[in-house]
Symmetry: C2
Subunit: 379 residues, 2 copies
């Protein structure tokens, strides 16, 4: 195995909270943490070119195993030498296991200890996904970081269900690690902690997952419908038990404010489709909160979305013009809003890293949230 396929170094720990600044090293380059990872579901960060995603400052992006498995399929991905070569993204990449999408499907037929049977959302074809099959697909995709196949239970779930999903996830995690030993194919593998919002289940899951031995540890099964306060509370309870030497990844989170809430509790990695999804409906981040670009208020606005932002949208266009593009259903509107929101998240994370390093995290957090959330709360 390649000794240098993956490493994580903590460079400075905040004196104010659990937050830390570190570096993940992979064969395709370094990732400074904490990091926000844009999502490229089907082999494209929606509306954007790889060059634009790089310019926005992304050092790692996500690919979705479920979607890529169904289309274009592993045979095509292998023909092109993996997803990096296929989509022309030369920086690091992370793939989920496909589990989250499969468990969210309406056409989920059967869950057994062996795996999951379901119908494709594209053509209804009957498919099986197992821990071993997820590993195989993720090796075809070729991301620097793979995720174990887990069972993510919905919220709310009674304790019995939450325990069953957590225990099955632990058994599956072991099979994933057996199928994909450390550094196989140059790819790292992260474990996932489950247990819903039951702290004793979370603690048990941390112990069982950490024992197997992974290159990083993710927190799954949060931000799946529970109140945000409960998500934060659950993280608070978990964090003292999370191994310090592994990168910690909070899956599917989050919003600008979530970056602060997560980093403060020791999270190193975040991903979320929300910034690009809301962008396509006209919602963009500003230092004083989210605004709806389609609003009549912007009809005559000469201002950029965010005068402090360096993205192409903010350097070039007025809110008034972008509003017009949204009203006229022009694709350039979706592009510019997506580019801005991604840039906003990555720029904000850069400021958070700097603040962690120089002991000003709490000040940055207070200042940002006071300005950003004032408008959010009114919505």
């Amino acid at each position: 195995m390649n000794e240098r396929f993956f490493s994580f170094t903590v460079e400075s720990e905040s004196s104010e909270c659990w937050g830390r600044v570190g570096t993940i090293r992979t064969r395709r380059g370094e990732i400074r943490t904490p990091v926000f990872m844009p999502v490229g579901t089907c082999g494209s960060v929606k509306t954007l070119s790889p060059e634009e995603v790089r310019t926005a400052g992304a050092t790692i992006i996500l690919g979705n195993t479920y979607h890529l498995w169904l289309r274009p399929g592993t045979e095509i991905l292998e023909h092109f030498g993996g997803l990096h070569a296929f989509m022309k993204w030369d920086r690091p990449m992370l793939t989920d296991s496909g589990g989250f999408q499969v468990f969210s499907l309406k056409k989920l037929n059967k869950i057994t200890d062996e795996g999951v049977q379901f119908a494709s959302h594209l053509d209804g074809a009957k498919l099986w996904l197992t821990p071993e099959e997820s590993m195989r697909i993720q090796r075809s995709i070729g991301a620097e970081i793979m995720m174990v196949f887990d069972e993510c239970c919905p919220w709310p779930a009674d304790e019995k269900l939450a325990r069953e999903a957590m225990e099955r996830s632990a058994r599956w995690a072991k099979r994933c690690r057996e199928d994909h030993p450390s550094g196989r194919n140059g790819q790292a593998l992260f474990g996932i902690v489950q247990g819903s919002t039951y702290l004793h289940l979370r603690k048990e899951s941390i112990a069982r997952t950490a024992e197997i031995g992974f290159d990083g540890l993710a927190v799954g099964g949060l931000s799946v419908g529970e109140p945000k306060a409960l998500m934060i509370d659950t993280l608070d309870g978990m964090m003292p038990g999370m191994p310090k030497d592994l990168p910690r990844y909070l899956m599917g989170v989050g919003s600008p404010e979530d970056l602060f809430y997560g980093v403060e509790r020791g999270i190193d990695m975040f991903d979320c489709v929300m910034p690009t999804r809301i962008a396509r409906h006209g919602a963009v981040f500003t230092p004083t909160g989210r605004i709806d670009l389609t609003g009549l208020a912007w009809q005559r606005s000469d201002e950029p979305i965010d005068p402090t932002c360096d993205c192409q949208a903010c350097r070039t266009f007025s809110r008034g013009y972008l509003r017009h593009l949204f009203k006229a259903k022009e694709i350039l509107a979706l592009r510019m809003a997506s580019l801005h929101n991604i840039t906003f998240m990555i720029t904000l994370m850069g400021r958070i890293r700097a603040a962690l390093a120089d002991g000003t995290f709490q000040r940055l957090k207070s200042e940002f949230l006071a300005s950003y959330m004032a408008r959010e709360e009114k919505r």
Copy 2:
């Protein structure tokens, strides 16, 4: 009036055909002719940023008066200082008169000598468009080149109808010129020749329009459903009578092959939505004909769309990846295909200009069409 608002110089005439190379000079820069003008219907060349359109080599783009009048409206355009400032396009621009869209509308209520009454396609509001109103709207938009308000009759039309539309267009052309004397607001005004496919009507229209005195002369009412051979035949009959000192603009044309057919007959300016429209459905130009990127044939193709093309799509992506993006309905597919088709048209026109200047136009035409049309004919 500004003396330097508009000029046209013929720099070299082909020894092989009616084609010529020239330069249009405007307050916002020069346009080498013959030229292909991408269309920015609603204040955006669909899917592309102004920067991308510049990089594709466009020296002038079109705006659609009808669409911009309805949305965002002249009041908003004036607030922003015109369409150039609104959409951040600093090179020359041309606007049509709105007539073509109005006459194509299903909700056209009434045509009188005064103007045209119709219902907005957006909200059904009853609207009037007259020659004077078209001039007013086009001044609000602020393009370097404005077009007279004309009546474009459909094809086929009987001679009586074709004559009526031609004569009304001539009367309206006079009113446009009276309302917009040479160089008012720094904007040039082009006349439009009508007359359907009746050569005697075309000749009468040329004489009546040229007599009024315009900065350029357009050929309207072609490529509206007639066979391509009849379009070419009509152009052949008209060209000896078209003033040589004015730029000649063939409205709404064309395809790659049309550039050759038109240039050969002395056309200096072309515009068409076709290259971007078909791109959004996966059809792209190559030196060996149009191909459908969504086809199974490209699933494993490592080739770019066109290895001789310098656009971002061809420099970066394989046909296989672009096919995947089209199948997955990713917006990046629409962008890359549009960018390529625009670049292809503009690059081809550059080669045509060079060939006109050095006497190799016929050779370029034969070589290009033999390669390009071989596949086209089979479709």
